[in-house]
Subunit: 291 residues, 2 copies
């Protein structure tokens, strides 16, 4: 397996990072590869990097930030003039850095808008681990409490609890099935997203839909915050929901039993109170009107 | 620790059995103790057994079947004539056996009514492990498919999957957070109960409320089946929800993080399509009318 194939496989198998972080990791890998790959001409450099980028794009079908940010990277690389290999390498590295910065800034702005909407003195319940949601908590340190689900498998909620504890945020940690019970102790439900579909549906870690249902039933708002690179103008049913090895659920082999391990679910727009990205806040009606 | 104390502790810590089975296990223990306990008089026999029964009653506050069946046992034992110790022992054993049989028959009848309501050729999604629900599947063998949640902790859904596999029932096994996703593949959601409160609220394994929310959102019925010994004419908020050691959720020690492990949640009556016990089926309106 080549280094490139190994990296693609690592992105495909990653359970540690959210979609925004993975997208920026991919852009960083493209920059590093632009600097190191041995080529004989600028055409070959461009062609090989674009092929690598396209493979990365298809590695995580549920994560629109990867599709979109690498899509923008490919379009920008295609527009670059040819000629000098060394200048082309530098230009491609520069494009990568610019997009990484754009993504980071979008996440920061989305988090700041979300923190303002949540307000101070609130208890926020969240599901899974989103770097954007961590950034929101970062804005609210000293003025917020958290309720965090285990998010099994692979239980990335434990890493979120560790991050919040480092920030000094009082956190209640619960198994996924206690989500309904604890929503009544929360003022706000807040999640990140892997993809926002054209109708505003939220594709995110499985269980997000259950949290949204509980939030509606308990009468608390359900917010989703995301950089706009996560928006895909497609039907939610056309977004492939990645599956993992059912062995993660650890069921003994049984003749008539099939285990499933689908990592994502779809929360329909009627359960979302507000979508917040770097451009600001949209409530239900305005989002529906636009799409 | 005496044998009696050991048994009470075993009932308190049991994670293996549902409320109906545990209630009958308690009645069986009372019968065995009636036969074996060394006493000097019928007064002492009756008094010591009733004290033991009362301790059993308070061991599982969330399980009404234990409260009610042992309550009936105590009332019947108090009505017995005194006199001969040996006859009293036999009468008490007989009361225990009669109540065990009444409970078993109630479960069988409730299961038969439920199977009729579910109908054939359906896919049934359930949460946790209920012996009454297993009895329903038993009535429908050859004409039903199942979707079973892990029900973590302690993941008793694995034992349900094994039971259904033994019955030859095709079963999809999912983590708790996939519950919303898989409800769309089900025709019916069906659960047992630990307690049915006066207003029809269902107190059952945590996560049941989430299944009921998903069932309503997907437009499939949510049924609860139970022997009527599980009915308690009290407000749902007055039923204590048992908690377990948070270590079951396996979180490393973190300064600002508190783990919770509440085993039960409350599903309000407006999410229940029908309540089925040994006397038959009640839909929402008739249940509300009676209470």
């Amino acid at each position: 397996m080549t280094d490139a194939q190994q990296f693609i496989s690592q992105i495909r198998e990653d359970r540690e990072h959210g979609a925004s972080e993975l997208a920026r990791t991919c852009l960083d890998a493209l920059a590093r590869r632009a600097g190191s790959i041995e080529v004989t001409s600028h055409e070959v450099l461009r062609q090989q990097l674009i092929e690598f980028a396209q493979e990365l794009q298809s590695a995580r079908p549920t994560m629109a930030a990867i599709t979109n940010l690498i899509g923008e990277w490919i379009a920008a690389v295609e527009r670059l003039p040819g000629g000098n290999v060394s200048i082309l390498r530098d230009d491609i590295k520069s494009i990568s850095r610019t997009l990484i910065l754009a993504s980071e800034n979008a996440v920061s702005s989305a988090a700041a808008h979300t923190a303002e909407l949540v307000g101070t003195g609130k208890t926020v319940i969240t599901h899974s681990l989103s770097s954007t949601v961590v950034a929101v908590f970062g804005c609210l340190v000293g003025n917020v409490k958290a309720i965090v689900t285990e998010s099994r498998p692979p239980s990335e909620g434990r890493r979120l609890a560790a991050k919040l504890s480092e920030l000094g945020i009082e956190t209640d940690f619960i198994s996924d099935q206690q989500m309904g019970l604890f929503t009544k102790h929360a003022d706000v439900a807040l999640v990140g997203a892997d993809t926002i579909a054209g109708d505003g549906s939220v594709i995110n870690k499985a269980g997000t839909y259950l949290l949204a249902l509980a939030a509606r039933d308990r009468g608390i708002p359900f917010y989703v915050c995301f950089e706009s690179f996560k928006y895909l103008d497609v039907s939610p049913t056309s977004v492939g929901l990645e599956q993992r090895d059912p062995a993660e659920i650890d069921l003994p082999r049984l003749a008539y039993v099939k285990a499933h391990n689908i990592y994502f679910d779809v929360t329909p727009p009627d359960l979302v109170t507000a979508w917040i990205n770097e451009h600001g806040i949209r409530d239900e009606s305005s989002f529906a009107a636009e799409t």
